[in-house]
C-alpha cells in the first residue's frame, strides 16, 4: 500500500511538473517579441488590416487565459492544432518527426550507457592505467567538446578528407557522437560507485560466505549500484535532448529537434508548444519510471 502511494505521489509530482512546463512555454511563446503574423507579414507583405484579420482568425486577440484554456482542452483530446506556417495538423508533423528522433536517441542512449558500463566494469575488475586514461579521456572529451563541434570534426575528417560517410542522412555519426558524449558524462561517477560498491560491508559478508565471484557481483554488487545507474541514466536522457537538437540540425535529420528549432525561428507556436509538451512529458515519464524501478530494486525505499 505504502509502495503504491509513493509511486502515485511520484507520478502526481511529474504531472504537476509537466503542467508547469507547458504553462511556462505557453507564456514564453506569447510574450516573445514578434509573433507569427509579423513573420508572415514580413515574408508575404501583408497589410496591417490583413494582419489584424489573421490575428483574429487565429484567436491571438483573445485574452491569454482563454487561449490557454482553448489549447489545453484540445490538447487533452489529442488535437494540438494546425501549424500556422505550413497549415498542416501539428499531429502529422510530430508523427513524421518523432520516429527519427526516437531512433537517434534510443540508439545513442544504448551506445553511451553500454560504453560507460563496459569501461567502468573493466576498470573495476582489472584496475589498470589504460582504463583510467580512457575513462578520463572520454570524460574530458564530453566536457570540453560540444556535440556539434564533434559533429563538424567528424564531417571534416571522415566525410570530406577520408570520404567514408555520406555527409548527411546517416545515423551512425550522430549516434556515436551523442553516445560518446553521454558516456563521458557518467563514466567517471559510475567507476567511483562501482569501486565503492565492491568494498561495501555486505559485499564483504558475501565474500566471507565464500560465494563465487560471479554470484557476489550479480546478487550483491549489482543491486547496490542499480540506484546510481538509474539516476545517471536519467541525467543522460536530459542531455540527449540537447545533443539530438544540434545533431539533427548539423546532419539535417528531420526530427523533433529540427522541427522545434524551425518553429522557434518561424514563431510557429502550436508546433513549439506541442513539441515542448511532448519532450517534457516523455522526460517526466522516463524519470518517474526510473524512480519506480529504483523502488522496486531497493526494498528500503518502499
Amino acid at each position: 500500500m505504502a509502495r503504491v502511494l509513493s509511486v502515485l505521489g511520484t507520478l502526481l509530482r511529474g504531472l504537476v511538473q509537466c503542467a508547469c512546463i507547458v504553462m511556462l512555454t505557453f507564456l514564453l511563446c506569447r510574450v516573445m517579441p514578434g509573433d507569427v503574423v509579423d513573420v508572415l507579414g514580413l515574408e508575404g507583405g501583408l497589410t496591417a488590416e490583413q494582419q489584424a484579420q489573421m490575428r483574429h482568425d487565429l484567436g491571438l486577440d483573445q485574452p491569454l487565459a482563454v487561449q490557454f484554456g482553448d489549447w489545453v482542452t484540445h490538447a487533452v483530446a489529442g488535437d494540438f492544432g494546425r501549424s500556422i506556417r505550413f497549415d498542416r495538423p501539428v499531429m502529422d508533423m510530430l508523427a513524421t518527426a518523432v520516429p527519427v528522433t526516437l531512433r537517434l536517441t534510443v540508439l545513442s542512449f544504448a551506445f553511451g550507457l553500454t560504453l560507460a558500463l563496459v569501461l567502468a566494469l573493466a576498470a573495476t575488475a582489472r584496475p589498470s592505467r589504460l582504463f583510467d586514461v580512457l575513462i578520463d579521456g572520454v570524460n574530458i572529451w564530453s566536457i570540453a567538446v560540444p556535440t556539434f563541434c564533434a559533429g563538424v570534426i567528424a564531417i571534416l575528417v571522415f566525410s570530406i578528407w577520408l570520404g567514408w560517410l555520406p555527409v548527411i542522412g546517416g545515423l551512425l555519426a550522430p549516434v556515436l557522437i551523442i553516445g560518446l558524449d553521454n558516456a563521458g558524462q557518467i563514466v567517471k561517477q559510475l567507476r567511483e560507485e562501482l569501486k565503492e560498491a565492491v568494498t561495501l560491508p555486505h559485499v564483504r559478508t558475501a565474500r566471507a560466505k565464500g560465494l563465487s565471484p560471479w554470484r557476489v557481483s550479480v546478487f550483491h554488487v549489482m543491486p547496490a549500484t542499480m540506484g546510481v545507474v538509474l539516476a545517471l541514466s536519467g541525467l543522460v536522457l536530459g542531455s540527449l535532448v540537447a545533443g539530438s537538437l544540434t545533431m539533427e540540425v548539423l546532419f539535417a535529420l528531420p526530427g523533433l529537434g529540427s522541427l522545434t528549432l524551425n518553429a522557434i525561428h518561424g514563431r510557429d507556436y502550436p508546433v513549439i508548444l506541442a513539441a515542448v509538451t511532448l519532450i517534457s512529458v516523455s522526460l517526466v515519464l522516463i524519470n518517474t519510471t526510473m524512480d519506480v524501478l529504483h523502488r522496486l530494486v531497493d526494498p528500503r525505499l518502499a
Partner: protein, 538 residues
C-alpha cells in the same frame, strides 16, 4: 597428534608501506575462545581479515608470517584456495549487522546462500535447514523471518541472522569481529550468551575481537591485548586480568575497577534547583504528508539541584539526547515546562544571554563539535564573543581554561584535526566551562572515546566539578559510567523516565523490570585487581 584449530606465527601486515600488525602469534584450540582486545586502529580487525583472506588489495603479508588452520598452512593471497575454506571451515560475523547484511535480499535468501555453500541439498532439506538455523540462533517465528528484509529487523535480530549464516556449515573456526559493539547493552548480553551456547553445541574455536575488556573476560579463555599492532600482553584470561604486566593492560583493567568502586556521596545542596522539568513531551516533526509525528519524549519530569549530578541512563532511541537538547534550549518541546534557574524556557522565543551563560552543553562526537577551519583559540573565542564575555582578559581566560583541562598554550594555534579525540573532547569541556556555567549538560561525551581515554576525561570532569561546583546532567548508555559519575539516576526507556532515584539505590534495588533487565545485562565484574586507585590510570 592434534593441531590447534588456528595457529598464527609472526603475523605481519602492512598497508601502503605502513605496518598495521607486527609479529603477532597465537593459537586457538577446538572449543576454545581467544579474545583479541584493543582500541580502534590497533590492528585487530586486520588480523581477522588476514585469516579469512579478505585483506584489502593494498595490504601485504610479511614473508615470515605463517597461518595454519588445523595444521594446514593458509595462503591468504590465494583467493581460490581461501574461498574454498570460507563459509565451510571458517566463517565470520562483523560489527555492524545493519550494513553487513545485504539490503536487497531477504534474510532467508541470504542464509540460504550460506546453506548452499555448506553442501548441495534439495529444496525441502534446504528449507528445513533454514528453519533449523533460525531456531538455533533463537529468532522468533522463523517462517516470517525468512521472508523479511534486514531493515525490518532490530539490531539484535540482524546479528542473530548473521550468526545463522556464519554457522550454516558448522565451521571449525568462527571469527566474531566486535559483534556486539553496535548494539545496546541488553542486546549485547543476549548475543554474548548466545555465542557461548552455540559454541558449546557446535564445538567451534572462536576468535573474539573486542575493545571491551569485560566482554572479553566474560567469553574467552585466552586474552591477547593489542596496542598499535603489537601484542603487548597475552595469556590465560584469569592470569592476565589478575596480574596485568604491561602498563596498558593495567590501565584497561583499573579503568573498570575504578568504575566499580562506589564514589563518595555528594554533599546535598539546598537552594534553587538548576533545572526543573515537568511533563515534557516532544514530537519529531514529520517530513512527509499523512505521516504521524513520532513522539520521542513523553511525560518526562525531573529536577536537578544546584551542584548535583543527574545521570540520564538509556539505550539508543530512548529519547535521552532529545532531552539534553530540550533542556539546553536547542529544541522547543511540544508540551510541558522547563525552567532553568527558575526561568521558564519551554515556550520562550529566545533564551536570555545570561541563562545561556549559566547553562552549557557538550556533545558526543568530539570530531564534529569543533569547526575544522577554526583554530582552537578562535573556537574558544566564539562563546566569549557570543555571550558578551570577551574583553581585555579573554586571552588569559582561554589559556587558563585550557590549562584546567591539562592542555598547554601550544594548542591555541592548532587546528582540530591535529588533536586526538580525547584532546578535542577536553577542548570542548574547556570551551563549555569558559562562561563558568552552573549547569553542564554532557550528552554521551565519552562514548566516542577509547576506554582508557574515557576514564581520563571522566576523572578530569569530576575533579573540575569538585572545584567549581556546577550541576551536571550526564547523559549516557554505559551503566557503570553513569553510576560512577552521578548522584542520582533517571532511567529512560522509549521516551519515558521509568525509574528515578539515588545512584546507589537504583543499582542495588531496582524497582522496574526494565531497570532490572539493564542491570542483568551488566557483565560480571573482573577478578579483584591489586591496583585500584585513580592515580594509576594517569
Amino acid at each position: 597428534m592434534t593441531h590447534p584449530v588456528l595457529e598464527l606465527h609472526d603475523l605481519d601486515i602492512a598497508i601502503a608501506g605502513r605496518r598495521i600488525v607486527l609479529d603477532l602469534s597465537f593459537a586457538i584450540d577446538k572449543g576454545e575462545t581467544l579474545a583479541l582486545i584493543g582500541e580502534s586502529g590497533s590492528g585487530k580487525s586486520m588480523t581477522a581479515l588476514a585469516i579469512m583472506g579478505l585483506l584489502p588489495p593494498n595490504a601485504q603479508l610479511g614473508a615470515r608470517s605463517r597461518l595454519l588452520l588445523d595444521g594446514v598452512p593458509l595462503r591468504p593471497d590465494d583467493e581460490t584456495a581461501m574461498r574454498a575454506l570460507r563459509g565451510r571451515r571458517m566463517s565470520m560475523v562483523f560489527q555492524d549487522p545493519m550494513s553487513c547484511l545485504s539490503p536487497f535480499m531477504t534474510v532467508g535468501g541470504q542464509i540460504a546462500e550460506a546453506i548452499d555453500r555448506a553442501g548441495a541439498a534439495d529444496r525441502t532439506s534446504r528449507r528445513e535447514r533454514l528453519i533449523e538455523l533460525i531456531e538455533l540462533v533463537e529468532l522468533p517465528d522463523p517462517p516470517s523471518i525468512v521472508r523479511r528484509f534486514p531493515h525490518e529487523l532490530s539490531g539484535g535480530q540482524q546479528q542473530r541472522a548473521m550468526l545463522a549464516m556464519a554457522l550454516a556449515a558448522e565451521p571449525r573456526l568462527l571469527i566474531a569481529d566486535e559483534p556486539t559493539s553496535a548494539l545496546d547493552a541488553t542486546v549485547q548480553a543476549e548475543i554474548l550468551a548466545l555465542l557461548k551456547r552455540l559454541q558449546a553445541r557446535i564445538g567451534n574455536a572462536m576468535l573474539f575481537i573486542t575493545h571491551d575488556l569485560a566482554a572479553a573476560a566474560d567469553l574467552a579463555q585466552q586474552l591477547v591485548v593489542m596496542r598499535a599492532g603489537e601484542a603487548v600482553e597475552q595469556g590465560a584470561a584469569g592470569a592476565v586480568l589478575a596480574h596485568p604486566k604491561h602498563d596498558y593492560t593495567r590501565r584497561l583493567v583499573s579503568t573498570r575497577s575504578i568504575l566499580r568502586a562506589a564514589p563518595a556521596p555528594a554533599a546535598v545542596t539546598r537552594g534553587q534547583p538548576a533545572v526543573e522539568v515537568s511533563q515534557l513531551a516532544y514530537d519529531y516533526p514529520v517530513r512527509r504528508l499523512f505521516a504521524r509525528p513520532w513522539r520521542a519524549l513523553d511525560g518526562v519530569s525531573l529536577r536537578i539541584g544546584a551542584g548535583e549530578t543527574l545521570g540520564i541512563l538509556g539505550e539508543s532511541g530512548s529519547g535521552k539526547s532529545t532531552l539534553a537538547k530540550l533542556v539546553s534550549g536547542l529544541l522547543r518541546p511540544t508540551s510541558g515546562e522547563i525552567s532553568l534557574f527558575g526561568a521558564p524556557i519551554a515556550h520562550a522565543r529566545t533564551i536570555d544571554r545570561d541563562l545561556r551563560r549559566r547553562c552549557q552543553i557538550i556533545f558526543q562526537n568530539p570530531y564534529g563539535a569543533l569547526n575544522p577551519r577554526l583554530t582552537i583559540e578562535s573556537a574558544m573565542r566564539e562563546p566569549l564573543e557570543l555571550l558578551r564575555l570577551s574583553g581585555s582578559g579573554s586571552a588569559e581566560k582561554i589559556e587558563r581554561a585550557l590549562a584546567d583541562v591539562n592542555l598547554g598554550p601550544e594548542y591555541l594555534h592548532r587546528y582540530p584535526h591535529q588533536l586526538s579525540g580525547g584532546q578535542r573532547q577536553r577542548v570542548c569541556i574547556a570551551r563549555a566551562l569558559l562562561s563558568e556555567p552552573e549547569l553542564l549538560i554532557c550528552d554521551e561525551i565519552v562514548s566516542a572515546l577509547d576506554a582508557t581515554v574515557q576514564m581520563q576525561v571522566l576523572l578530569m570532569l569530576k575533579e573540575l566539578q569538585a572545584t567549581r561546583g556546577f550541576a551536571m546532567m550526564f547523559v549516557g548508555h554505559d551503566i557503570e559510567i553513569v553510576r560512577w559519575i552521578s548522584d542520582r539516576i533517571a532511567v529512560m526507556h522509549r521516551g519515558r523516565i521509568v525509574e528515578q532515584g539515588d545512584a546507589a539505590a537504583i543499582l542495588t534495588a531496582p524497582r522496574e523490570p526494565y531497570t532490572r533487565k539493564l542491570i542483568a545485562a551488566m557483565l560480571p565484574p573482573l577478578p579483584d585487581v591489586t591496583i585500584t586507585d585513580a592515580t594509576q590510570v594517569a
